[in-house]
Symmetry: C2
Subunit: 145 residues, 2 copies
């Protein structure tokens, strides 16, 4: 139930991204039952491919903790991390990754061994809500031609 609770917080972030006409992906980092970082995808706003929700959440959480390892943290993200974000999460040694919708095209499940060996990965939490936001965004984009 906690996973759903925190995924709803990540979904709130994804909705903020959608309002900015960004690919609607949101993330939060939770440590000892407390949300210590919230972020949404800002690649268009910042003109920067590295500005995925997870990357900003990692940087923000590390700033909060005052250390670069997130060994006691869970990262919640509405869509499966890409290889860049999975690689960053491995460096951060995050204890759990919980994602919503699978990314069939760009998701890191295509790359075995990319996660830190101690990281637990759980997918499919509030999957349909997370996927619906993505579908809404891309349908709108296509509609615009």
């Amino acid at each position: 139930m906690d996973d759903e609770k925190y995924m709803r917080k990540a979904l709130e972030q994804a909705k903020l991204a959608l309002e900015k006409d960004e690919v609607p992906i949101g993330a939060v980092v939770v440590c000892n039952g407390q949300i210590i970082a919230r972020a949404c995808n800002l690649t268009e706003t910042l003109n920067d491919v590295t500005a995925h929700a997870e990357m900003q959440a990692i940087t923000s959480a590390a700033g909060y903790i005052g250390g670069k390892y997130l060994t006691d943290c869970t990262l919640y993200v509405t869509v499966e991390p890409c290889p860049m974000c999975a690689g960053a999460l491995a460096w951060a040694q995050v204890s759990r990754i919980v994602y919503g919708a699978t990314d069939e095209k760009r998701g890191c499940h295509h790359f075995s061994g990319i996660h830190h060996p101690k990281t637990v990965v759980v997918g499919g939490v509030l999957e349909s809500e997370c996927a619906a936001l993505m579908k809404e965004f891309f349908a709108k984009k296509r509609g615009r031609g």
Copy 2:
């Protein structure tokens, strides 16, 4: 010859990292014969696992260009990119990646299909100089116990 010239500039960045007691990796981004970004690894200084030389070079180059795609750019980096950085370089659609030393443990050569299909990857430029800096750093670390 140009590849060696620009790798020497990346090595200058790596030496700046070494002076800061950071893992000595440096990068530059070159566009039409001009260096448009220089960066070194700052993960300890910034307490942030995402602060690899390549990540900062991508952000800096995109800021200079005013767009997030680096399709006409070559990224030079003293050590083979990790999956995080290779993933970021794929999103940026960088045209060439030139690296010095291979990273046997964490290098992205362990993950096939991580690069953008149009990106050309060249390794081994000034390999021994690039590797020597890394060896010097880790020998010192071990010496400290």
